[in-house]
């Protein structure tokens, strides 16, 4: 999908990569070869041109959570391939490949941790895994995380990086919208705060379900936030899209997000929100 841009906050697409194996990464914006370890220090922002590199779920977690406070919650589920779906390739193969590349069972990672000393339940999506699409496993993991947060009465934070529904799971993936919303209603009934962080991209069925129901929504600068893909909109309506269409700034102007922050401020922003929201653990 074409990346529309906030004036600041440019995402650069990088190749799918295994989490730990590449030593150097090339910035597609300016061509700079950047040492991987260096990127960790810069919040995965290109030191030369300021472009944002895509984060893996683990990298995102490390960039947000207090050191040594993170504990994963593992459901151990992997997709059943409920439709036995085959397009040009079997879905099963795509799953195996994504699992091999990412080391993940699916497109979301769930765990507990602290931000600035305040506990939270965290679900972070990984765009490398079939575009961060929501199938039965993503739905299950997010529902588990929401239920756990409700039970423990600690705030739930969802970091979105999702192209939408997992097409290869058909109506099964559609059901995940209802599933995650049902679990979110449970969290809401337990009076527990819910913060969503929108990154690039936050679109489709993920945005049209649980992600839009957060109490607080924070957009990372450069995020793409929208329901339908720009191409679909142009084809269906013949409309020309505004320059800033579906950017974080656009979402702010149209009342969809509470704040837009550059990547380097995201952790502090989250801490600020948790400070006023997480009463039970208030210092």
């Amino acid at each position: 999908m074409p990346i529309r841009r906030d004036s600041k906050g440019r995402y650069v697409e990088v190749e799918l990569r295994r989490a730990e194996e590449t030593l150097w990464l090339r910035c597609r914006e300016c061509g700079e070869l950047v040492f991987r370890r260096k990127l960790k220090e810069t919040n995965h922002i290109c030191p030369r041109c300021g472009a944002y590199f895509f984060l893996t779920a683990q990298e995102r977690i490390a960039s947000l959570v207090d050191r040594d406070t993170y504990a994963p919650i593992e459901s151990g589920y992997a997709s059943d391939d409920p439709l036995a779906f085959v397009d040009r390739r079997p879905y099963r193969e795509r799953l195996d490949e994504a699992q091999a590349i990412t080391g993940l069972n699916d497109a979301v990672v769930v765990g507990r941790g602290m931000v600035d000393g305040r506990p939270l339940l965290l679900a972070v999506m990984d765009f490398r895994f079939i575009g961060g699409s929501m199938g039965q496993v993503v739905g299950e993991e997010i529902a588990v995380a929401l239920e756990r947060a409700a039970e423990l009465r600690i705030p739930f934070v969802l970091v979105v990086a999702s192209g939408g529904a997992r097409v290869q799971e058909g109506a099964v993936s559609l059901m995940q919208m209802a599933k995650t919303v049902a679990a979110r209603n449970l969290l809401a009934a337990a009076n527990v705060p819910f913060i969503a962080v929108f990154t690039y991209p936050s679109t489709g069925g993920m945005l049209a379900s649980v992600a839009s129901l957060a109490d607080v929504t924070i957009a990372e600068l450069g995020a793409m936030i929208g329901f339908a893909g720009p191409r679909v909109i142009e084809q269906t309506t013949g409309q020309r899209l505004p320059e800033s269409f579906q950017t974080a700034t656009f979402a702010l102007e149209h009342g969809v997000v509470d704040q837009v922050v550059p990547r380097e401020s995201l952790r502090a922003e989250l801490a600020r929100a948790l400070l006023v929201l997480s009463g039970d653990h208030n210092g």
Partner: protein
């Protein structure tokens, strides 16, 4: 549609014989009965042979009973409520209180329109944020006035447009799902024609989900899937097959509860019967649901969607 030249030929023959008989020359009663039975058999066979893509075309059939005309045929009384109370009204997603048999209910339904102008105004059943916010308002009223909610789903999907995005269509859909799941009244959704993606589930997260025999329910249209996954529009029938979007397939996947049978050839061949059958089915379901204690209903509803389409076996993440 399926190749039906044999059927058409037989139909023509029947008309011919009837005319002959009416002209008074000969008694062809026996021959007519045989031919009619043959025709029925042919229709049944053809109907059974339909591919998924044929079903999609039946679900989209221009004469399929749907929208306001179906509601008017089905309900004893219907009072349409309009507007989201915030700036607009969407003619593609409609609703209002109605009487169905002995039941007072709140109806929600997509409307595609009959005339070309109406179809344009309704964007062929693609609802906007205004539509989903109206349906939210109607759910609120239903909850307050203790009216079970019945939704008739028939949409290619929510409307993808600049204004839809500006008005946060994603949020409107999410709110609609959320409110439907939290309603303190029984809820039934009927996938009537096309159940298209988020625009459908927005008003389909119900206690009971029924599907018309020839309806489809999918996360993406076959055309969309062919374009995205096959990168080839001619793969559309193949995509329709892969998506498992027909009623029998979805029943097998346990994503719907029951199938409402249609007349041989499809609901459009007998709109009156369609309305009557649907009303009867809904009334029966309502009677059952209304007997359940509300707590139980809400508990079962949570369980249903909490478990919908779950992976069955935990495996070690590699």
């Amino acid at each position: 549609m399926v190749d039906d030249s044999a059927i058409r030929a037989l139909e023509a023959k029947l008309v011919e014989l009837r005319q002959m008989m009416e002209a008074g020359n000969v008694d062809l009663t026996e021959e007519l009965a045989m031919l009619e039975s043959k025709l029925l058999k042919l229709r049944r066979e053809q109907y059974a042979r339909m591919s998924e893509w044929d079903r999609v075309k039946l679900a989209r059939h221009p004469e399929r009973p749907r929208g306001l005309p179906l509601v008017e045929a089905m309900a004893h009384a219907f009072y349409e409520l309009r507007g989201d109370r915030m700036g607009g009204d969407d003619p593609a997603l409609r609703g209002g209180p109605a009487i169905l048999g002995d039941h007072r209910v709140m109806l929600l339904f997509h409307h595609r329109g009959s005339t070309p102008e109406e179809q344009r105004a309704c964007r062929h059943g693609m609802a906007t944020p205004e539509g989903y916010r109206k349906s939210l308002r109607l759910m609120e009223i239903a909850d307050r006035l203790k009216l079970p909610v019945i939704s008739l789903v028939d949409t290619p999907g929510a409307y993808p447009g600049v204004q839809s995005e500006e008005q946060n269509i994603a949020g409107a859909i999410a709110q609609s799902i959320s409110r439907m799941l939290s309603l303190n009244v029984p809820t039934i959704a009927v996938i009537l024609g096309e159940g298209g993606s988020g625009g459908a589930i927005a008003v389909a997260a119900a206690d009971r989900v029924l599907m018309m025999e020839n309806a489809t329910y999918s996360v993406i249209s076959p055309e969309g899937a062919a374009a995205i996954l096959w990168k080839d529009p001619s793969a559309t029938p193949q995509a329709a097959q892969a998506l498992r979007l027909t009623a029998p397939q979805l029943l097998e996947l346990e994503l719907i509860d029951a199938i409402v049978p249609e007349a041989i050839g499809g609901a459009h061949t007998d709109p009156k019967r369609t309305a009557e059958d649907l009303r009867a089915t809904l009334c029966q379901q309502l009677t059952t649901l209304c007997e359940r204690p509300l707590d139980e209903l809400r508990h079962l509803r949570y369980k249903r969607y909490r478990n919908a389409g779950s992976a069955r076996t935990p495996t070690d993440p590699s």
